[in-house]
């Protein structure tokens, strides 16, 4: 897994919202769940397109665009 950013918001009622950015593939979710493990009860997991992309996929797309230019 490459560079990534995880934002965790915890409010006074104990509700937690976690967003990941710039992380491709299931590994990013695994890592979030590892961080939350034993610390919170998960109620919802929403996977976006990036979740289903293989790590490195974005880099290849950027490379293609450079060739086109």
């Amino acid at each position: 897994m490459g560079a990534g950013r995880v934002t965790i918001k915890i409010d006074e009622k104990g509700e937690i919202k976690v967003e990941t950015r710039g992380m491709l593939g299931p590994a990013c979710l695994d890592e979030v769940l590892k961080i939350l493990q034993e610390n919170a009860a998960v109620t919802e997991i929403r996977k976006t397109d990036e979740y289903y992309m293989k790590p490195g996929a974005k880099i290849r797309e950027e490379a293609k665009q450079k060739v086109r230019q």
């Binding site: 990534g4 995880v6 965790i8 918001k9 509700e15 976690v18 939350l36 919170a40 998960v42 990036e50």
Partner: protein
């Protein structure tokens, strides 16, 4: 955004009558056997010996979204019920005073009613304060544990405290 995860830190549910009221509000079938409330095969709530403290026996994994969502709804409904009971007691106290002014209550009767209502309200308010403080401390502990875990996994951690929330930004390069 790669993924979005929602989770929560479970609060204490110290008043057993509010737990049962919340379950009824949720139209949840449950079986009470002594101090055990059986909700499903995999979920029981145990009322402890003093009849007030509730503990959870979740045999499922902490990742079980179904059980966790149920517990979160229960906690929210419970908190609303507790708040509602306190408000009703306040209203009834005011009504008892009003009835005394109107001469509908005898002094003795008024005193007994008012003392009973006040004591019950104060008991519930104390429970509410205890639960809120316990949750606050629990959240502080969880934030510290999450930061520790993230650092262990190689993340840089930035923490920002806003009015009603703590924001942790974890960055891995």
């Amino acid at each position: 955004m790669s993924s979005l995860v929602r989770a929560f830190v479970m609060r204490e549910l110290l008043d057993s009558s509010c737990v049962e009221d919340a379950l009824k509000e949720m139209q949840c079938d449950y079986l009470k056997e002594g101090n055990i409330i059986r909700i499903r095969q995999n979920l029981t709530i145990t009322l402890t010996a003093n009849g007030a403290e509730v503990s959870y026996n979740l045999r499922d994994s902490w990742q079980n979204e179904d059980v966790n969502s149920f517990m979160q709804t229960l906690a929210k409904t419970y908190a609303a019920k507790l708040e509602q009971k306190i408000e009703i007691l306040k209203m009834n106290e005011a009504r008892a005073r009003e009835n005394e002014v109107l001469g509908l209550f005898k002094e003795e009767e008024r005193r007994t009613t008012e003392v009973r209502l006040r004591n019950e309200r104060m008991r519930l308010e104390a429970i509410k304060r205890r639960e809120e403080e316990s949750l606050r401390l629990k959240i502080i502990g969880k934030v510290a544990a999450i930061k520790e875990k993230a650092k262990h996994l190689g993340y840089g951690v930035k923490e920002e405290t806003r009015e009603k929330e703590v924001v942790l930004v974890l960055i891995k390069r």
